[in-house]
Symmetry: C2
Subunit: 580 residues, 2 copies
């Protein structure tokens, strides 16, 4: 080793020891006769001392060092005269007797500090320098810890990690596949997995009983901010279980992770049905770190002269506690927010409950205090509270109010990233109508089992069919989703039919799975977690970018290595492909 | 859960308990008034008992069960009258009171037994049934255990698992890449990684200090038997180390794995230089579970009238201990073996050392006993030993003799798969000449550092330049290889030059790495293990196939899912490609 110790470990117990350290020059300071160098590695920072009086040539050499030089020093641990209590090594320094420059460095394009002056683009281009920064390094280390603790939990519960293939078969259902031309099988392609879904089900047919894998998945979709073409999943499946067994097992996983990684103890996770989630929060991934449930005021609002309400499918409000003191300007900004294209609201009505049953609203000419007080009563508004009301088409209004709810909570500081509020959302619809293709799509995927009592509605009222499907939501983000699967060939065929697959399409794409169902497929179900997002949330952040060592930008490019890129014509010839 | 216990856990301590079990029907036996069913799951087999006298309808129902039906039973644990000592659950059986068929099964296409009647092709097509067989299931579980123990070892030594990207950049150096057309970046491709080599080096530049990953890699090569287009590596890298540090660390890993997984304690691993390996074993991956080192007899063989020896560059033999009693037929078969195309030898000369200095050889008319005894002396042959000699061109002869050595050891039962003989091979040549392209290639890869003292020879005697490169060989298989890397931009540029890269090519393909070397790259090195092979060897097998859940065949096809396959024209259009 080019060191006897790392830069984070020495303290007063090591005084007088002769040590060798290696690392990067964080900074140098010349103080008259002394030169101090902060030497940094993954483990910490240790101060090096050079004395012009006792060793002028060495001290002169130290003064030549620049930021990010890689050096090795030999020296003696001594107690510092002026200690730094913020540093684990802050009680000591190294009286250096030998200095070797292992590698020089050009001046880095941005500062390697907790707060850097580098913009996103620059940081990504020089990601290897960005990772030297403590916040990024620690995020990657947290990710490794979440991964290790996930395995520890699942291993201890009898799950077997099985690697499923990456070169699989393209299936048009769902998102777009990345495909890989096969050289040995002309005109044919592999696809990269969007998830190991069919393989994990086959592993259940194979009797593996409990499977997991932390695995890369791929989706060739137009990237939105904070979505990556390759992403990591914790992928799990169990046999001989019902839905409640799965919820218990994976609630346990998330609780284990929060405990081990953050020291946070979570209580039992609440459950909500999909319908209630939409009704109470306007979204299937409600953030329940704060309350502000939707209150339906439709019946209490109709029949006055206010046409907005009269013509609305729904009138729905949220109570903003203690916000009756919002200024005109604050309220105007909320109105502006709901009118932005991404929210798409028509407008926003407020009602401030002042005192003694008196309220003040933007529609006072239509509604008297008594009527408004019926709203207050329904919404649980007390004096000092603000009621924000939207009206219109049901779906659109709920969605808009849901975004307002989050926006307001953000403004009110109610979305504390160090608070963790998990929630199971259950009883999802099996199917959802797609206006583009004029047919139903599977809301989760085609292997999700309908609830036994609802199968009868498949033909006539497909909207009513509920699935044995569940999502785990954390702080308003879907971090996992799964279902009890179909394990019966006939039911699977029926599902494919309802999803618009011809018999031939179903056979070509999923024949192997339906064949497998004929040889003793056990009842089974599972779940998959978005690992990047999970790590980010545990790390107290919304953005996944810095929890990925080498992320791609929004055009799917890795700007550090400049990929994707052209390949040479010989490679194209080998693959028998050309550009159209 | 559809069970209270699994099928491997119940014993006499559970007698009288009411239990629910679920699993597969392994077999049914009708014995007069009783019907017995062996119920199987991942954990074991439990016997179910049905009694025609006490519950005729239930017993009749049990008699309808066929192999591989999935059933659930409720019943009472009772002590067996005739116990099965070979089964952990062999002391008990279940007196069944309720039987539910969870899923039926067609008759499987091969028997689900330790020894099956299914051929390779059939087993692969129905891999989900093959995995139900205990030997395959156990291999996959062993793999999971090797993986878990690898992580445990590396985690405890401060390695951080970092996921590197799968969609990277194609580089023509080395094997052929699998490429992935980019839809969002027309005419451009990602490549799937052959290894995370450059990324792990960037992580060292990033200060991660110790990195590992158990990761899929991809190579689009013409497949030889037992080679897969996608394979798994244990990929590791360390900073501030020299070669010996790496050997110690990863010798420790292999020792840990053998200890934890097999209960085998290994001593310190021997080391051999590449030159000595070639000289003594004719290969850079010698199997040292047995001796039979090469003995060079060239000087002792020249100058007689035997032209085969006189014209040979080298005459070299191996001693087959106690094999002087080999029959004419046995010897002829060895001759046949060396003449097969894959060995490529011209012939084989034998010399049996009988007794009292008398020997009998296939070339007795050219050599007297005294000469032959000089051979015996050099080869350490005693009475009863057989000396097998080959002669010819140096490289070819060594290679052929190396194959004979393995063949003979196999025949003599010296290749015991439960014996583990690891060996470090060090001091590899940096470059090897490629006759096709008429230039030198990197023997490991272009990032391997030459030995400092040898750099001077790069221009004039490139053959002489040795690398800081090492392989770990286990039982004649290379299971790992690595090197100390170049961390200096100038030296890396020099290497690219010697490998025939133009400056522009080097910049286009590896510019990001050379740029990184300008910002304080630390000295670093690493190793990668072929995980599939490692698991197979630890499992006492030579073939990797059954240590992979869903392997591909020798044409790179997954015959279970029928992949690769055609994709629809819309996908091709999206990617702007067509077939040439």
């Amino acid at each position: 080793m080019l060191r006897t110790h790392n830069c984070g470990i020495l303290n007063l117990t090591n005084v007088s020891e002769k040590v060798t350290l290696s690392g990067w020059v964080q900074k140098t300071r010349d103080l008259g006769g002394m030169t101090f160098v902060d030497l940094r590695d993954r483990y910490g920072i240790t101060q090096l001392a050079f004395n012009m009086d006792t060793n002028a040539p060495l001290c002169a050499k130290a003064r030549q060092l620049s930021r990010e030089f890689v050096i090795q020093v030999i020296g003696k641990v001594i107690e510092r005269t002026s200690k730094n209590k913020n540093l684990p090594t802050g009680d000591i320094e190294i009286e250096v007797s030998e200095l070797i420059v292992l590698n020089k460095s050009k001046t880095p394009p941005f500062t390697i500090e907790d707060e850097t002056d580098g913009g996103d683009e620059l940081r990504m281009k020089y990601r290897y320098l960005d990772i030297r920064r403590k916040p990024i390094k620690e995020k990657l280390m947290l990710r490794a810890k979440v991964s290790a603790e996930t395995r520890k939990y699942l291993d201890s519960r009898g799950f077997i990690e099985v690697e499923t293939p990456y070169l699989i078969k393209s299936t048009p259902e769902g998102a777009r596949d990345f495909v890989v031309p096969s050289r040995m099988n002309a005109k044919q392609f592999y696809a990269l997995p969007q998830s190991p879904q069919t393989f994990k089900q086959l592993l259940m047919v194979a009797g593996m009983d409990k499977y997991y894998q932390i695995v890369k998945c791929f989706r060739d979709e137009d990237l939105r901010a904070d979505r990556q073409p390759e992403f990591t999943q914790i992928d799990c499946e169990m046999s001989f279980v019902n839905q409640e067994d799965i919820l218990q097992m994976f609630e346990g996983l998330i609780r284990h992770l929060l405990k081990q990684v953050k020291g946070v103890e979570l209580k039992s996770f609440p459950k909500i049905t999909y319908d209630d989630a939409i009704k109470l929060y306007g979204t299937d991934k409600p953030d329940i770190r704060f309350d502000m449930k939707f209150v339906e005021l439709t019946d209490l609002c109709k029949g006055k002269k206010f046409e907005v309400f009269n013509s609305a499918e729904i009138v729905v409000g949220i109570r903003a506690r203690d916000c009756a003191n919002f200024s005109r300007k604050q309220l105007d900004k909320l109105v502006d927010f709901v009118k932005t294209p991404q929210v798409g609201g028509n407008g926003l009505i407020y009602c401030k409950f002042i005192e003694n049953g008196i309220s003040k609203s933007s529609i006072d000419k239509f509604f008297d205090n008594a009527t408004k007080n019926t709203w207050a009563e329904k919404a649980g508004c007390a004096e000092g509270d603000l009621l924000l009301i939207m009206a219109g088409k049901e779906d659109k209004t709920r969605k808009a109010l849901s975004l307002l709810r989050l926006h307001l909570a953000e403004e009110l500081g109610l979305r504390n990233p160090q608070k963790f509020a998990p929630l199971w959302v259950v009883d999802f619809p099996l199917l959802e109508w797609d206006d583009d293709s004029k047919r139903y799509h599977a809301m989760h995927h085609p292997f999700t089992s309908p609830k036994a009592n609802d199968i009868q509605h498949l033909d006539n009222k497909p909207d009513l069919v509920r699935a044995n499907a569940y999502d785990l939501v954390l702080n308003g983000n879907e971090i996992g989703g799964g279902s009890i699967r179909i394990h019966d060939r006939k039911l699977q065929k029926l599902m494919f039919k309802h999803l618009g697959f011809s018999e031939i399409e179903a056979k070509n794409q999923f024949g192997f799975l339906m064949d497998a169902f004929e040889y003793g497929a056990p009842p089974h179900g599972g779940i998959a977690f978005g690992f990047d997002r999970l790590c980010a949330l545990i790390g107290g952040e919304e953005s996944i970018r810095d929890f990925i060592a080498f992320p791609k930008n929004n055009s799917g490019r890795d700007i550090m290595i400049d990929s994707p890129s052209e390949i040479d014509s010989g490679q194209l010839d080998d693959l028998n492909i050309k550009f159209s």
